[in-house]
Symmetry: C2
Amino acid sequence: MSTSEPRRALNFDNINPHVKAAQYAVRGELAVRSEEYRAKLAKGEGKELPFDKIIAANIGNPQQLDQKPITFFRQVASLLENPLLLEHEDVLVNSLGYKSDVIARAQKLLKEVKSVGAYSQSQGAPAIRESVAAFIERRDGYPASPADVYLSNGASSGVNTLLHVICAKPETGVLVPIPQYPLYTATLAVLNARCVPYYLEESRAWGTDLKGIRDSYDQAIAAGTDVKAIAVINPGNPTGASLAAADIKAVLQFAAEKKLVVLADEVYQTNVFIGEFISFKKALRDLQKEAPGTYDDIELASLHSVSKGMVGECGHRGGYFELIGFDPQVVAEIYKFISIQLCPPVLGQCIVEVMVNPPKEGEPSYELYRKEYDGIFNGLKERAYALFDAFKQMEGVECQTPAGSMYLFPTITLPPKAIAQAEKEGRKPDEFYCFRMLDATGICVVAGSGFGQKEGTLHFRTTFLAPGTEWTGRIVQFHREFMEEFGE
Amino acid sequence: MSTSEPRRALNFDNINPHVKAAQYAVRGELAVRSEEYRAKLAKGEGKELPFDKIIAANIGNPQQLDQKPITFFRQVASLLENPLLLEHEDVLVNSLGYKSDVIARAQKLLKEVKSVGAYSQSQGAPAIRESVAAFIERRDGYPASPADVYLSNGASSGVNTLLHVICAKPETGVLVPIPQYPLYTATLAVLNARCVPYYLEESRAWGTDLKGIRDSYDQAIAAGTDVKAIAVINPGNPTGASLAAADIKAVLQFAAEKKLVVLADEVYQTNVFIGEFISFKKALRDLQKEAPGTYDDIELASLHSVSKGMVGECGHRGGYFELIGFDPQVVAEIYKFISIQLCPPVLGQCIVEVMVNPPKEGEPSYELYRKEYDGIFNGLKERAYALFDAFKQMEGVECQTPAGSMYLFPTITLPPKAIAQAEKEGRKPDEFYCFRMLDATGICVVAGSGFGQKEGTLHFRTTFLAPGTEWTGRIVQFHREFMEEFGE
C-alpha cells in the first residue's frame, strides 16, 4: 500500500512527541468552549443559551472576575510607565490624589531600572531583589540574600527553569503531589522526564502523607527512576489545603534522607484562612537550628508570584524564586538558562517590588492599602465559605473545609447512568459533568482528571473568585437537575 | 579509588547536559564583568579604572542607553495601569497634555483586556491580534488573519515555542545563519537538536548564499540529519544586513523544494537604512501569485517584537508570530504548549497594539509621534555611520556599510602576538580583544565567536545605540594602543 507524501514539513506524526504528550486541562477543551460562548454572547448572539454570561471559574484570574487592583500598586505603575508625569507633582497630588509615598516609590524604582522599557539583568533588577530578600527575612525571621533571588515571568517560568536544569535524562523523576496544578506534569512531559506521583490525603484536609511519599519513591526507584526532586504546593492547588508544620518538616526530612531538591510552590502564601502559612525556608532554617549539621545540604527552591494573594496581578507576569543550598556551578547554569530569554518583564518585576514592600503603617498610602487588602481577603474567605456551604446541599458532593489558596476541590459521586453516558460520549465522567455544567450554567470549572485523582474518585476544581452568590445557586440547581436526569 | 558521595542532589555532572551545552555570549562573562564595573562605579568606587562609565554596547537595549520612549505609547500605558485616571479626563487633557486619542486608545484596550492585571487568552487578546493582522495587511498588501497571530513574550519566546514543536528527536536539524543571534543555537542545544550552520557572505553585505545553504543542507542530510526548518534573520543580527528581494525569494524556493519550515526573524524590520524591508510573508504571497499551486504548502512563521525598531520597549517583553500554512493539528499543539505558561505579559501585548497601530496622520498625537519616531530613526542612522567611519580609521578593521538592525559586525585582524597572548590566557583571540576593550574603555561589545564566524576570521558585534561620539573615539584610541602593544 502506498502512502501519499505529506505536503508539509510538520504534521502531527513528526513533531516533538514530548510536546504532544503534555496535558494542560486548565486551558483545555472546556476553557476553549467557554471562550466560544463568551465571544458569541459578546456579539449579542447566543439567545438559545440558558445563560447570559460566562463565569471563568477554571482559572485563578482575579481581575477578570472584577477584583480591583490595589491602588498603590497601580498608581506607582502609572508613573513608571509615564515618568513625565513626575514633572507635574502638584497635579498628581492635588488633582489626582497621588500620595507622596507613591511618587517616592516610583522615583526609587525608576532610579533602579532606568526605564521599564529597558532590559534588566537576567536575574532581575538588583534593588528589586534586595526588596524581595528583605521581605523573606521579615516573613521568616532568617537572613536572605538578593544574590539568591531570581525574578521570573510569573512563578510558571521559574518552575520551567528549575525542571529544565534538574531533568537530565528520561529516567530522571520528580515527586509531584496528586492532585496537582498541571504545570508540573506538563513540563515533565515536555522534558521527557518522569512524574513520580504521590497522593495527598483528602480525608486529612489534603495533607501530605509521608508513608505515601515514601512508597511512591520506593516504587520509582525499583522501576529504575532517578528521583531528584519533590514538588510541594502549599497552600494547595487544586486542593485549597494549608499544610501543617509537621507535614512540612516531614517532607524536608525525607528530602534530606533521599537527597532530593525541594520545589516549594508557595504562590498562595497569603491566601490562608485556617492556621498560618509556614514557608519551607523557615521550616528548613528551624530544622537546621534544631539539629546543626544534619540538614545543611538540602537544596530548596521556593517560588512566589504577583498573580495570586490579594495582589492578583497575573497579567503582569511577575514572580521570583529563591535558591537555598544549590551548588554554585548549578546556579551558574540556571543563570545562563534564564539569560537566553533575556529578562522577566520589568514592570512585572516592579509589581513584585510593591507586593513585597507595600506601604507601611504611618505612611500616606497605608490606610487605603490596608482597607483594600483586607477587603479582598475577607471577600475571598466569605465566598469560599458560601461555596462550601452550597456544596453541602449537593447530593453526592463532599468538600474539605476551605483552608487556603483560591480553589475548592470537591469530590463528586456520579450515578452509573451518568458514567455510562460519559463513556458513550468518549469522555471521562468528571469531564462529562463539567461540560454539562458549562452548557447549562455558563460556569467553567476544571475536571479533577486534569489535576490527577485517586483511581475511582471524581472531582472538579472551581475558584471562588467570582463575585456574588447567584452563580453558586446556579451550580446547586444544575447539580440537582443533573442528578434527576441521571439518577435511578 | 573511592570517590566521596556528593553532598547535594544536583551538581555540575548530573544536571541536564543539554542546558550545559547551550552557549549565550550576549549575556556571558564579558557582560557579567561589565556589570561588576558598573556596580563598582555606582558605589563611588573604582577610582583605579581608566573610565568613569560603562557603555553596554553588547545588547540592543535602547532605553538603557537613553533612547526616550514614544510618548503616545507610554501615555496610553499609564492609563492602562491606572484606569482611575480616566475619571479625570479634564486634568489629563488640560494639565497633563494627554490628547483625546490617547484616552480613546486606553479605553479601547481596557474594554478588550478588562485589566492589564488579568490573564488574557494564551494566544493573546483577540482585539490586539486583530490590530496585528491589520498591520500585516497594510505592510504587505495581502490578507492576514487574527487567528494566525500569536502574541509572545518578546520574539525570543516565540522562537522557543516554534523550536520546541519542530525538534522531535536528536537528529532533527535546523538551518541557522552564521553569524547568528545565539538564541537559535542555544535553544537547539537545550532541545538536543542539531544546528545546521550556513554561512552568510560577508563580502556581499552579509547576504544569504543559496549555494552555501544547499551545501550545508546536503552535508547535513548525508550525516543523517532530518533537516526540518531554516531560520533567517532579516535585517540581520549580528550582521546589520538587509536582505535583497532575490535572496528572500531564493530561500523560499529552497524551503519549498526541500519542504522546510521558514522561521523569519524580522524584529528589526523598521531598522533599515538601505533599500526597503521586504517581509517573508509578502515575498511568499508574491511567489504564490507568480506560480499558482507551486508554493502553497510552505510553512512560514514570521516573528516581530516591541523590543527593537523605534519602539525599543524590550523591558516590556512584547512580541508576536504569525503562522502561515501550518497543519491545524500542529497549530493545536503550539497553542497547548504556550497555554502551559498561561499568557504573555498583558501590558506587553498592549505595547504591541500601539506599535502596530500608532497615531495616524490627522490624529491629535500624530505630529509628536512622527517627530519622535523620525528623530530616533535618524539618530540611529547617524550613529551607525559615525561608528562605521570610525572603524575605517582602525588598522586591520573592515566593516560592511550599515544597512539595518542595530549592530555593526566588523572583521578584525589581530597581530600574531595578540593571538599568542590570548592563547596564553586561555581565551579565543576575539574574546581577548573584547576583554581588553572593556578593561580599557568601559565599553562592552560581544566577540564574534559568540555568534559564529568563518574559521580563521575574527569579529565583534557592537550596537550603535549609545548617544554621543565620545565613546566611538575611545574605541579608536583603544584599538591604536592595542595594535601598538601587540604589533610587530
